[in-house]
C-alpha cells in the first residue's frame, strides 16, 4: 500500500467490549484501537470464543461497549440513529434470511429499504444500483431465481449483493465463508478483495481462514488472549503475532510459508 492520505471509515478509541449483567461486567477484550481506511479489505481473526462476534456486534451497534467509543465516518456510533447508520454500514450475518420465498432481485432490492419511500417502491436510481450490485457479485444470471433454490455459495453472494445495494462506506461480514467448500471460500474472499478495490468500500470480515486472509487482506485485526492488534499482514507476521493465536503445543505458525502447521 502506498502511503497516501486515506480517509478513515471506522475508528475505535480505547474500546472495551463485553457483557453487563445485573451483578457484574464481563470484559471480553479491552484497549481496542483500530483504524480502518477507505477501500481496505480487513480480516478479523482469532480463536473460537475469543470475542470476534462480540466485537462485531459492538461495531454494528447491536450491543453497547463497556467503555470507549466507536466512530463511523468520524461520528460516534451512539450519536447515530439506526436509520442513519443503515446508510453508512451494512452487514452480512451468519444467519440465513428468515424467508427465502423471494426472487434474488427482490432480496437484493431489500438493501435499498433505507432509501425507499413508505411502501418501499424502487426508483430508477435504486434499480440501477441493484443491477450494479448483481453484476459486481456475478449473479446477474440468478436474478429471477427463487432464493430457496440456491446453493449456500450462491446465497452468500446474494447476501453480499444485498449489502452492496445498501450503498454504504463500510460492510461488515460475520464469518462469510462458513459452510462453504475450499473453492467457494477462496472465491468469496477474492470477491470481497475485488469489491473493496473497485468500489472503494471498506470491508471487514471475521474468518477462520487465516491462511487465505493473510494472502488477501490489506489489514488484519488479530484477537489474542492478551490484546487486539491491527496491522498489515506482513508486519503482523514479522512481529510474530500469529504465534500467540493458538496454544503453541498444538499448532505453530510457519513464518516462511505464512501458514499454520500441526505439531506432530
Amino acid at each position: 500500500m502506498t502511503k497516501t492520505i486515506q480517509h478513515t471509515i471506522l475508528k475505535t478509541k480505547n474500546l472495551t467490549i463485553g457483557y453487563t449483567s445485573k451483578k457484574q461486567q464481563t470484559v471480553i477484550a479491552s484497549s481496542i484501537d483500530i483504524d480502518l481506511h477507505q477501500g481496505e479489505l480487513v480480516g478479523l481473526v482469532g480463536a473460537n470464543g475469543i470475542g470476534k462476534s462480540t466485537l462485531l456486534r459492538t461495531l454494528t451497534k447491536v450491543q453497547e461497549p463497556l467503555n470507549g467509543t466507536v466512530f463511523i465516518n468520524n461520528k460516534s456510533l451512539f450519536e447515530t440513529s439506526h436509520l442513519e447508520l443503515s446508510k453508512s454500514l451494512s452487514v452480512v450475518l451468519t444467519e440465513q434470511p428468515a424467508s427465502k420465498n423471494l426472487t434474488v432481485f427482490e432480496l437484493v432490492a431489500l438493501g435499498r429499504q433505507p432509501y425507499t419511500n413508505w411502501v418501499g417502491n424502487l426508483s430508477e436510481k435504486d434499480t440501477t444500483i441493484i443491477e450494479k450490485a448483481l453484476i459486481q457479485t456475478n449473479i446477474k444470471s440468478l436474478k429471477d431465481r427463487m432464493c430457496f433454490e440456491l446453493s449456500d455459495g450462491q446465497l452468500q453472494k446474494v447476501m453480499i449483493a444485498r449489502a452492496l445495494a445498501q450503498d454504504t462506506d463500510l460492510i461488515i461480514l460475520d464469518e462469510p465463508t462458513t459452510h462453504l467448500d475450499m473453492y467457494h471460500k477462496a472465491y468469496i474472499l477474492k470477491l470481497l478483495k475485488t469489491l473493496a478495490k473497485n468500489t472503494n468500500k471498506t470491508i471487514l470480515f471475521s474468518s477462520h481462514e487465516i491462511d487465505l486472509a493473510i494472502q488477501l487482506c490489506d489489514r488484519m485485526v488479530v484477537m489474542t488472549n492478551n490484546k487486539v492488534v491491527s496491522d498489515m499482514p506482513c508486519n503482523l507476521i514479522s512481529k510474530g503475532i500469529f504465534n500467540d493465536l493458538f496454544p503453541k503445543d498444538m499448532i505453530a505458525f510457519d513464518k516462511k510459508t505464512g501458514s499454520f502447521r500441526v505439531k506432530k
Binding site: S86, P97, Q113
Partner: protein, 342 residues
Amino acid sequence: MPNQNTYKLPFTVLIILLIICFLGNLSLGSVSIPTTAVFKSLFTTIDNESWQYIILNYRLPKAFTAILVGSGLGISGLLMQTLFRNPLAGPFVLGISSGASLGVAIVILGAGIFGGSLATLLLSKWSVVIAASLGSFLVLLSVLAVSLKVRDTMAILIIGLMFGSITAAVVSVLAYFSSAEQLQQYIFWGFGSLGNLSWNELFIFFCIYLLGLVMSVISIKALNTLLLGENYAKSLGLNINQSRFIIIIATSLLAGTITAFAGPIAFIGLAIPHMVRQVFTTSNHKVLLPAIFLFGAIVMLICDSIAQLPTSDYTLPINAITSLIGAPVVIWLLVRKRKMMF
C-alpha cells in the same frame, strides 16, 4: 418491482372472481330471487317489496360482512406469520379469539348467575359484541405488556398461546356451572355468523376494520424487511419495536372486531395466506396484501353461499364450512414435500 406486470393477470382474475362471487352470494339464499331482480334491486326499486327488503337489509350487509371477515382474517394471518416467522401462526395466536370467547362466556354463561332483568340486558347483541371486544382487547393488552419486557418474538408467540389456555380453562369452568340452554347459546356464538348485522353495526365494524387495514398497509415495508430476519431488519434502519407494535395492534383490530361481530371464524386466517403464496409464488407483501384481501373475500363469500344451503330453509354454521375447507389445506401444507414458505 420490475416484474409487477406479471401479476396483472392474476389480479384481474381475482377482481372478476370477487364481483362474480359477490353477485352470486346475493342471488343465493333460502328465498330464491331471480338474478335479474337482484341486479335491479341494487340500483332501483323493484315491485316485489319483500325481495327488495331481503336483498338490501339482509343479503347485502351479509355479503359485505363476508368480504370484511375474509379479507381481514386473511391479512391478520399474514401479519402474524411474517412477524412470528412461523407458517402456522394465525390471527388468533395472540389469544385474541380466546379472549373474545372469555368475554362472551362471561356474558352468556355468567348471565344466569346474575339472573333477572340484568340477564336480559346482558344478553342483548351489543353486550356480546362489547364483551368479545373487551375480552380480546384485555388479553391482547397483557400480551403487549409482556412483549415490552420480552424481546424474543418467539417467546411472545408462546405467551400468547399460554394466555389462550388460561382463558379456555376459565371458559370451561364457567361452562361446567351453566345450564344447557346457556351452553347452547354460547356454542351458537362459537359457530360464527355473518348475518344479522344491521347497517349501523356494519358501519362501526367497517370503521375499525379500516383502521386495522390502514395500519397493515403502512406496515408493508416493515413486513418485507422482516423477511430477512430481525437482525437484518435492524441493520436496515427499521425500528423493530415500533413496527412490531403497529403490526400487533393492526392484527388485534382486524381479528378482534371480526370475532366480536361474527364470532371466532376458524382457519381462514391461517389458510388464506398460504393459498395466496402458492398462487403468487412470492412473499413480497406488496403483492401478497392486496391478493389476500381479494382472495380472502372471495373464499368467505363462497363459504357463506355454501353455508346458506341455497333454496333450503337451513343455514349451516359458517365455522363448520370454513374448517371443512381450511383443515384439508393445512394438512396438505404439512404433507407437501417442499419446505413450508412464509
